[in-house]
Amino acid sequence: MFGYLLASLAEIVRPAYLLPLSIGTLAGMIGGSLPGVTITMTIILVLPFTFALDPLQGLAAMTGVYVGGSAGGLVTACLLGIPGTPSAIATTFDGFPMARKGEPGRAVWLGTWASVFGGLLGAAFLIGATGPLAAFALEFGPWEYFSLFIFALSMVAGLTEASLLKGLLSGAIGLIVTVIGSDPIMAVPRLTLGTEFLRSGFQFLPVLIGIFAFAQIMTDLERMGGNVAPPRVEAPSLAVSHLSVIREILSRPFLLLWSTLIGVWIGVLPAIGGSAANVMAYDQAKKFSKRPEKFGTGIPEGVIASESSNNANVGGSLVTIMAFGIPGDAVTAVMLGAMIIHGIQPGPLFISQEPRVAYGIFAAYLVAHPVMLVLQWLGARFYLRVVQVPKSVLIPVVLVLCTVGAYALNNIIENVYVLLIFGVLGYLLVKFRFPLAPLILGVILGDQIEVNLVRALMTDADPWLFLTRPLSGGMLLASVASVGLALWQHRRQQRMGAAAQAGAPDTDF
């Protein structure tokens, strides 16, 4: 097996493969950094160009897009406070405050190096454990999915900021949003007021961009109007000591490993993907931390958890496509389509029948990370320019990109209205100091919880199965524990109050 892998690595670094891989990675980084342009859209744009290439060249390019996209999202997240892709939501929580405090370089490079380490660790899982991981994922029936998503939802309690009540309300709003529109099973219209517009429901992406991008832009605008000097240091620099950043990450091996595991596992399960993985990893990091109250103020743990998990998630999504030929998410679905167009039949025999392509994808995934690192280094000066662009120019451009992205999602204008509605809602929530993350988590999970609940009951009407199936029951118990822990931390934090402001030691958890 390692013989194959080494041969594939030697092949991938040849210019014929390295070039499409690098172009793909660059395209992914650009697409990932634009709010409103998803990795899926980028990969669909790249797809036609790969028809003329040999299959492995095409797949190398797409793997590059996937890896680059996960990394590109962090730049926008750190510098503008807007997640460039859904998988960078949690990166904004600490990456943006860190950049605001005058350390944009530290934020971006912490994210980048965490992506590289998370990605490479994820690759180790992908290469070493594709078979067992995929087999374990198949054991997940609707009961287990339901309980897993309930567990994910229980993290809402951990993501609340000052007020627990406001956090829970925000999560509830998110869940209600998913109820509006046609129900996911038989398309019965719910809360649609009889209108066509509401019948389609609200797509995730316009909601996300609306909530995060608009809310961020509005607050930026207000600050401009007040003529307050920007809190950024003069002549900001992305220059940073890479060694110290790497040390910051590697001195937290448990955090890195745990976030990577969460990313891989959520990627292996074909349902929610990177958009949930990074939030879950962030919440876990906060739960295990010795200084949970510092999360959200610009500490490295938050950035590391989010970014290592979302790149590892890419490796996880490749597991099911390698093992069974079943796409784990929209991006791998496009890759699967590309394989079929090239006459490669993905399926359980894929690795043994097409070892050159299979190990080529492994190799491309490995090589994409150093390539991304180099491109990020080259691109750093341009990112800086973006931050230096006057807000009066930058904001309209970002707004236009958001709008175009929302439209391009399924090519219908309704999504633009959804963007506007949630932009206003997001702004209001920020004004009234509601946290936004629980709302987004509610939107991500609502549909999946409902669908799997209905599926489970359609398969077997016995509701006790949720508790008696060991995996499912275990996860439900973990959810209760998770809420309990979050409540306890919340209490402790409030009791400690200002005392916590004193310089806490910068340790691993």
Partner: protein, 319 residues
Amino acid sequence: MRRFGLPLVALALVVVVLVAASAGLAAYPDRPVKLIVPWAAGGDTDAIFRPFGPQLQKHLGATIVIANVTGASGTVGAREAKNSPPDGYTVYATHDYIHSTYYTGVSDVSYKDFEPVCTVSATPSVLTASPKTKWTSWQELLGDAKARPGQITVGATLGSTSHFFPALIEKSAGIKLKYVSYEGLAPRMNAILGGHIDLTDSNLTQKGKVDAGQLKFIAIATEKRLPQAPSVPTLKELGVDVVYAVTRGLVVPKGTPADAVAKLETACAKATAEPKFAEDMAKQGTAVRFLDRKAYAEFLKRNDQLNHDLARDLGLLKR
């Protein structure tokens, strides 16, 4: 020069727009044609129309832009196509779901909202069983189904083709199955590999999994056995009178000028006759199937009645 750059560009844009507007009178097609695929890139339908797009483009002489308008079991795309201007520049890639989603109340778009252009392909359905089931043949499945009515689970997109195909078998063989909602082939494959459902509708693209012993093809819904899978019996030879394929075709919004429809039809005929297209379709477990607009209209009418009756028999009829 620099100072005049922007106004010059603006002027050029205005000219382009004016020319484009006045060209509305020019012969069809003089600008790109949007092909609405109502499911995501990478899905079955997308995989068929993506190689078809360039062939159609070649014979139509206009750029074909594939737009994946996704959501709500393909009905968002259907509605978008229905509401598009009937000028021949919006073409909608559809299949049998348009009837079933209409009658089950999932969508309010009917095939009557469109003018048929041509059919492109037919993908025969294959009744597929989980590796965790004990049946090795249709007879064993039938016996088990009779012994345990309403216990055997079928994963299906409710109200769509993957629901109607097993329902036809149910009716013809006199058995009772239990349906579980799984939208799309990929989630169904996950569930069936893990044994969370017993049966599902799939097609020959899943042959690799059968060869690896991870899935079982029980029977195929064609008239005769297919050369790609000679060992898979047809439902007909097993005494179940069900022939079922998902037929994909092109339609345009009602009111599209006749000459545009005729040009699309001619281009479609030539595109489906391309050997390269047949080759691409064989990889998808699909046969090229061209019907001209007249034959397609009749096909749609017949199919609509069939779907109406099925929805009624299943107790799903909402209109």
